[in-house]
């Protein structure tokens, strides 16, 4: 079994991992990126909608800046996010998009003059400014004050990923695909690298580095129904958890999207409803106005998802071999509109379901069901991206709980976070690697390698009656039914118990194929227990959190409880034999907030238990602003909540028509 040494090791080849690799390589460090799949196949490619960055180029984005983006993000997070990180993020996002433009991402550009758009189902004409001609365009997305989401047609994530991956190739960054990291090598609280399994030969290998970064994305596949790619199993997160030292943050914060298509789970963009599409039940009845008379289908993602499930529970779902679902009807928009503005939705629907959504009447209705979409939780890291408890271990992107999204992520902030975190965390990571010396830990490394080899061997010797595939299916069902959109103490309790049983059963299986090589059965046998541990973190975290915040909704505790729950859930897996995680909490201090907790502006207004300090902080902020008098927004911001950024990322972003840019 080989040991490979490098300066910087990055596990995961999506946007966050590759962008970090570039940051490290540009500081002259030897860098290896490991990926389960060819990096350009990473789930980053699936982002269709776009990337949020406050460029303010488009007419509908005029007046946009970091402050507006910041406020949107914090409100979206239901005040669960780390505001310092949010500030770092919004300040860097415009730079990220401009860097990507220079790397060739063919962002859709603004054409000066009039163009017709549809807002709330109504045709409207907007006029793009002459001085904006040729600059990056933006579209409207949920939860944002301005049109801020920059895009390349319907393939934003794809073009971003390709540009970044090609830049990595340009720098001769070593990219090794079909390699799966399965365990972290550490000595005490110091990370040394990872044990890696080659998915072609099955060979185990230790990768040892000055610094290790995990950028392996989300864990959506612990749910039965998810829009995530099938590689999004959270193995990187689980491997961190298994150290017993690394903390995971807010694992119960899981986002559900209202309209993935059934059964494939492929997303149908929010634009369907934005343009006037409606949701119907098995009787063809439009039910959303009954629940949300004001916003109807266009309430926020979590609200619409909840209402849909509520309606299905009333027996109004359409039954199908793939379970109950509802209909999304865009046929009412007319064929012309669909073929012009929702062409890709039409393509998906025809390809995967044989339904042309432009066909009139019920023939064109598309089967939809809310499904898991995004993991806000992950490896808890400091604003520098380094693990709160393990030195030399960094994390970025969806795998991390950097905490930009709190309990709800805004659309367009995911790929944006991935790249921005790659830039910022990549920079801190590079500094760490540069200032660290590789010491000899041969024994630890050798033990880790052998330990993993023995573990896999042991799995092959299991002789039990259970089937790992059945266990996985049960886990995914439990998560779907009991730790889903609506949560309650009873179900969550049951879920934890059932998941614990399943976790024990993973050692009572039989693997038929005894090969240590390319063995897809063995893959499942070591992955499913890891997934189960994450599932337990989600379920247990959700059980303990007796409030509703963002995407976490407790039927038995429907209010956001700032008084008791303005804190982050921290999960660790203390002992190898444990069947549940150990939970603790990290306070989110109001005293340092730039934007103290308040009503989000959407959802139920009365569902809020305020924190006693909120008022204090508000007054404090008012006073400070008054004292400072007539100064620009940057000075006020700096006074309220100072933050740092590396590599000139704090420079002011230039905008057309903004003098102080």
């Amino acid at each position: 079994m080989k040991i490979i040494y490098t300066d910087a090791l990055i596990v995961g080849g999506g946007l966050a991992g590759l962008r970090s690799a570039i940051a490290v390589r540009d500081k002259g460090l030897e860098t290896i990126v490991l990926s389960m799949v060819p990096v350009k196949r990473s789930h980053s490619a699936a982002a269709q909608g776009g990337m949020q960055a406050s460029l303010g180029n488009a007419t509908k984005g005029e007046g946009d800046n970091e402050d507006v983006h910041f406020a949107d993000t914090v409100k979206g997070s239901d005040w669960g996010c780390d505001q310092e990180v949010a500030r770092m993020f919004v300040t860097t996002a415009p730079k990220a998009i401009r860097e990507l433009a220079s790397w060739g991402v063919p962002w859709t550009r603004i054409k000066k003059g009039d163009r017709e758009v549809i807002i709330n189902g109504q045709k409207e004409t907007i006029t793009e400014r002459d001085e904006a001609h040729g600059l990056i365009n933006a579209r409207d997305f949920g939860g944002t004050k301005k049109w801020r989401t920059c895009y390349t047609a319907d393939a934003t994530g794809h073009t971003m990923l390709y540009a970044v991956a090609n830049e990595a190739l340009k720098r001769n960054i070593e990219i090794r695909d079909r390699k799966e990291a399965i365990s972290i090598i550490h000595e005490g609280d110091r990370c040394l690298g990872v044990v890696v399994r080659d998915l072609i030969s099955g060979e185990l290998c230790a990768y040892v580095a000055k610094g290790t970064m995990i950028a392996t994305g989300g864990y959506g596949r612990i749910y039965k129904q998810s829009t995530n790619a099938i590689i999004c199993k959270g193995i990187g997160t689980a491997m961190a958890l298994q150290t017993g030292i690394v903390q995971l943050g807010n694992m119960e914060a899981v986002q559900f999207h209202p309209t993935p298509i059934v059964p494939s789970g492929i997303l149908l963009t929010e634009g369907c409803r934005g343009d006037g599409g409606v949701l119907r039940d098995k009787d063809g009845y439009r039910f959303m106005p009954d629940y949300e008379p004001e916003k109807k289908e266009l309430a926020s993602r979590d609200v619409v998802s909840r209402r849909m499930v509520e309606h299905i529970r009333k027996g109004k779902g359409v039954s199908s071999p793939y379970g109950d679902h509802l209909w999304l009807d865009i046929s009412i928009l007319g064929r012309e509109h669909i073929e012009k503005n929702l062409r890709d939705i039409q393509d998906i629907s025809i390809t995967f379901n044989g339904i042309d959504p432009a066909d009139e009447g019920s023939k064109g209705w598309m089967p939809v069901l809310p499904m898991q979409h995004y993991s806000m939780g992950g490896i808890r890291v400091k604003p520098t991206g380094e693990s709160t408890t393990m030195r030399g271990l960094f994390s970025a992107g969806e795998a991390a709980c950097w905490d930009l999204h709190g309990f709800n992520r805004l659309g367009g902030n995911s790929v944006s976070e991935a790249v921005v975190a790659g830039m910022i965390v990549g920079e801190y990571f590079a500094d760490y690697c540069k200032n660290t010396h590789l010491q000899s830990h041969t024994e630890t490394i050798q033990n880790a390698l052998e330990g993993q080899y023995e573990y896999l061997k042991t799995i092959l010797t299991y002789n039990g009656s259970h089937n790992i595939f059945a266990i996985k299916e049960q886990m995914r069902n439990v998560m779907q039914e009991k730790v889903g959109i609506f949560r309650n103490g009873k179900d969550l309790n049951e879920a934890v118990v059932e998941l614990e049983i399943l976790l024990k059963q993973t050692r009572e299986i039989t693997v038929n194929d005894k090969s240590m090589g390319n063995n897809p059965e063995l893959n499942e046998a070591y992955r499913v227990p890891m997934m189960l541990k994450l599932a337990l973190c989600v379920a247990k975290g959700a059980l303990e959190r007796t409030e509703s915040r963002g995407a976490h909704y407790r039927e038995d505790f429907p209010k956001r409880d700032d008084a008791n729950w303005l804190k982050r859930t921290i999960a660790t897996w203390q002992n190898h034999e444990d069947t549940v995680p150990t939970l603790s909490y990290e306070e989110i201090s109001i005293d340092t907030m730039e934007l103290p907790p308040a009503f989000r502006g959407y959802g139920r207004k009365d569902a809020l238990i305020p924190h006693p300090f909120t008022q204090n902080r508000e007054t404090q902020i008012e006073k400070l602003k008054e004292q400072m008098g007539d100064v620009d927004r940057f000075e006020i911001q700096e006074a309220l909540m100072p933050f740092e950024l590396p590599n000139g990322y704090k420079d002011k972003n230039e905008r057309i028509g903004e003098k102080n840019g």
Binding site: P38, V39, K40, R41, H43, A45, A46, L55, K95, A96, R98, E99, A101, S102, W103, G104, P106, W107, T108, R109, H133, G134, L135, N137, T152, A153, A155, H158, A163, A165, N166, L169, I175, D177, I200, S201, A229, I230, P263, S264, I266, L267, S320, P321, T351, F352, G354, F469, D513, S515, G517, N518, N519, P520, E521, G648, D651, K652, R655, I656
Partner: protein, 255 residues
Amino acid sequence: MGDALNQKENQEQTFRTIEISVFRYNPYSKHSKPRFETYSLSETPSMTLYIALSKIWATMDHHVSFDFVCRAGICGSCAMVINGKPRLACKTRTEEFLDGKITLMPLPTFKHIKDLQVDTGSWMNAMSQKVESWIHTKEKTDISKIEKRVEPDVAQAVFELDRCIECGICLASCSTRIMRESFIGAVGLSRVARFAIDPHDERTDADYYELVGDDDGIFGCMSLMGCEDHCPKELPLQTKIAYMRRKLVSQAIKS
């Protein structure tokens, strides 16, 4: 309980049974010999080959290997030969095969890993490096300043070619590539065209000639059109290869 089960069975009986034959071979195993394994399963409405293969793997044969990632037709992992044609398995619905018989083979011209898995990643990375698939510019971008302007139509044209998902289908559909493995194929040639029309890239035709100006590159293409006719993203490969050919031939004649 019994009733419910019967009902379920009755429901399933209304679906036809399909037969999927899968090429099985593990070149890394001494004992493995190439063969086809046939699986019969009940077809469900709007079943794709992703659903069918996942079902086979989870319930019938845990050892069959294949690749899916996005299962939405955007990542290019699941390209395979389906009844003779290279296609994306996730976008292929079983109902289109009227006789219910489907034969699956791995993509040719790539290194075979196991069963339906091939190594496209290494080849595609090498291709990207060969054609230097990145922006070449001497200009230093200040990312806090307003971005360089690009005509909307030009950005759109670049995007059209940037849609390539490196699935490898163009190579597997190309007889030239099948015969001559050093041929870079439509994916490489259209990539060069993509940068040739990108205003950010300062490379000249002479530079591009150095990358693909030989029989492994643009002059290897015999216009057999397998690439364009099978491309799952429907990229304008025909016109872009012709565009590069004209550019590079005129460059050669001028020099």
